[in-house]
């Protein structure tokens, strides 16, 4: 696809940790409304890509252009405010806080009332909180109609699948234009994974303009939700295209099955 009209355009991205090259001149583009799957063995640079995109790592080379803007030098919170939201492979929810509190943190950048409103303009403050809770309830209900009623419970009390939903809601709460999902099916059984795929389709239907990049080990998830697949190995992009094409790619098969299996 042409990179010119892309929402996200990553060119020649290189990330180094000391002598280790975690990402080596990677090009990835994502169009508006597109879902791109990212696959590759452990340590192939998938999460490093997310960490560089969200400003956690400073790239050693290349550039990231998001909505026509170069992200170099921006701090993580500034990048988040431009419209990139993410989830983490191991859930990074605040388990001690309530479901609503977690989602409110996702809305952080959008909150307008400050300390002054809290003290003297209570109506304004409460109005914002009410609107935020309504939005949070709406997002939760998309995935599970019972979740809004558990909004004041601690996240730690929810089952795994609902925690993942809260994490996705927290990311969506910021009203992002690009959603990065880092292995959402990690730690899930097949039934939960099937529910997750249904959830991701709901996201697609409810937010057709949202672009999604999803890292997954589960090939059913990748096949089921992505329109295009990018495969990584040793920090390099080794294949790109439809799921079928990438899955059939020799280097991808070698990376997953071992070179002997393919070379034999």
């Amino acid at each position: 696809m042409s990179a010119a009209g892309a929402l996200l355009d990553v060119r020649g991205l290189t990330v180094r940790f000391g002598g280790l090259v975690a990402l080596d001149g990677v090009d990835v583009a994502v169009a508006e409304g597109e879902t791109v799957g990212v696959i590759g063995p452990n340590g192939s640079g998938k999460t490093t890509l997310f960490n560089a995109l969200t400003g956690l790592y400073a790239p050693a080379g290349g550039e990231i252009v998001f909505r026509g803007r170069r992200l170099a030098g921006l701090e993580a919170h500034a990048i988040a405010r431009l419209g990139i939201a993410r989830t983490f492979q191991a859930s990074r929810l605040c388990l001690d806080l309530s479901v609503f509190d977690n989602i409110l943190i996702g809305m952080h950048a959008g909150r307008r009332t400050g300390l002054v409103d809290f003290v003297v303009r209570r109506r304004r403050f409460l109005g914002e909180i009410r609107a935020a809770l309504e939005r949070a309830s709406h997002l939760l209900a998309l995935f599970n109609r019972d979740l809004p009623s558990r909004g004041f419970e601690r996240v730690g009390q929810l089952p795994q699948i609902d925690r993942r939903r809260v994490e996705i809601c927290r990311a969506l709460a910021a009203a992002p234009t690009l959603l990065l999902l880092d292995e959402p099916s990690a730690g899930m059984n097949p039934e939960e994974t099937a529910e997750l795929m249904r959830d991701l389709r709901i996201v697609r239907e409810e937010m057709p303009g949202l672009s999604v990049v999803i890292i997954e080990h589960d090939m059913f998830v990748i096949e089921g939700v992505s329109q295009r697949v990018v495969a990584f190995n040793y920090g390099r992009k080794i294949a790109e295209g439809s799921f079928a094409a990438v899955a059939a790619h020799g280097e991808v098969r070698a990376a997953y099955l071992g070179t002997e299996a393919v070379g034999a």
């Binding site: 969200t54 400003g55 956690l56 701090e75 993580a76 919170h77 988040a80 405010r81 939201a85 993410r86 983490f88 990074r92 605040c94 001690d96 806080l97 509190d101 409110l104 943190i105 996702g106 952080h108 950048a109 909150r111 009332t113 400050g114 300390l115 809290f118 403050f125 927290r170 910021a174």
Partner: protein, 307 residues
């Protein structure tokens, strides 16, 4: 066994002291919560708050406002502003630049800063070596209830201290800034990716914690009717102990720890022969027991492995 009235009296006095300790402890625990640091100059920030309050009072008196109803709120506001700004400066000079180095470096830097603050008050405050009488602003007199003497002044100190704690609780639980502080305390990286500005949140935390120390400093001046440039040493150690007992990083733990420490001190004074001489020995012995048997504190999850 001392009479019940004496015990009640001492428990009440303990709660009074405990409220002041708790206000200092909340600062320690907030700083540890957001940055995983122990800010050893915090005791001297507490002392600085007392001196800033005294200076404000002297200034107000010179302006003819010494006896007005505004004197007390203005004194608190001025002292909170001074310690808040110094607290944020301390974080930017002694804590942030050392992020990623050994925690011992932050320990050394904040200890040194405490010394600088203490010596500065000694040298630059007029006759800084002397204990300074602190004006009595609160209503004097009192009444007796069930054999326990209750002074209006003490009730006011208790009320102000509790009001400060409630205010902190509301700010942390209710406001956008509070949400940012809680998010950063749990996971700074994830918080940033939700759009939380880390630097600004850390500044806010240090302003808040240091401002509370100023409130404690003024209350201490009002309670003992005198302040001294070395008061931050004991004040800091007690505040830190209270935060550790409660569980570093937990605001409610710090409050409980502060109250517990105060009550331990005063009841020890009543229960043990020559107890008032041993009150610190008893209280710190309990701190040590906590460190041995429950190092993460009453409510703590993070262990005190950093320093």
């Amino acid at each position: 066994m001392p009479p019940l009235e004496l015990l009640l009296q001492q428990a009440l006095n303990g709660v009074m002291l405990g409220v002041m300790y708790a206000l200092v402890a909340v600062g320690f625990t907030l700083f540890f919560g957001v940055l995983d640091v122990i800010h050893f100059a915090h005791g001297d920030i507490f002392m600085l708050g007392a001196f800033a309050g005294l200076t404000a009072l002297v200034g107000l008196k010179a302006a003819g406002l010494g006896g007005s109803l505004l004197a007390l709120p203005l004194t608190f506001a001025a002292a909170i502003l001074v310690t808040g700004v110094v607290g944020v400066a301390a974080e930017r000079v002694c804590v942030k630049p050392l992020a990623g180095t050994s925690p011992l470096m932050t320990l050394l830097a904040t200890l040194s800063l405490g010394l600088v603050i203490r010596e500065s008050v000694l040298i630059f405050y007029p006759r800084g070596a002397d204990p300074k009488p602190f004006p009595q602003l609160l209503p004097q007199g009192g009444f007796e209830a069930g054999g326990v003497a209750i002074r209006y002044e003490n009730l006011a100190i208790l009320g102000i201290g509790l009001a400060a704690m409630v205010a902190v609780d509301r700010v942390i639980k209710g406001t956008k800034m509070g949400a940012a502080i809680r998010a950063v305390a749990q996971d700074p990286e994830a918080a940033q990716m939700m759009g939380v500005n880390l630097d600004r949140t850390v500044d806010a935390t240090f302003f808040l914690g240091s401002g509370l120390a100023a409130v404690a400093g003024i209350l201490s001046g009002l309670y003992y009717s005198e302040i001294h440039f070395i008061m931050g040493i004991t004040g800091g150690v007690i505040g830190f102990s209270a935060a550790a007992i409660g569980g570093l990083g937990n605001v409610y733990g710090a409050i409980v720890g502060g109250l517990l420490f105060g009550v331990l001190q005063t009841t020890a004074a009543a229960l043990i022969p020559r107890g008032s001489e041993f009150r610190d020995v008893v209280a710190f012995a309990v701190v040590m027991l906590f460190l041995v048997f429950k190092p993460s504190g009453i409510f703590g999850e993070k262990s005190v492995e950093r320093v």
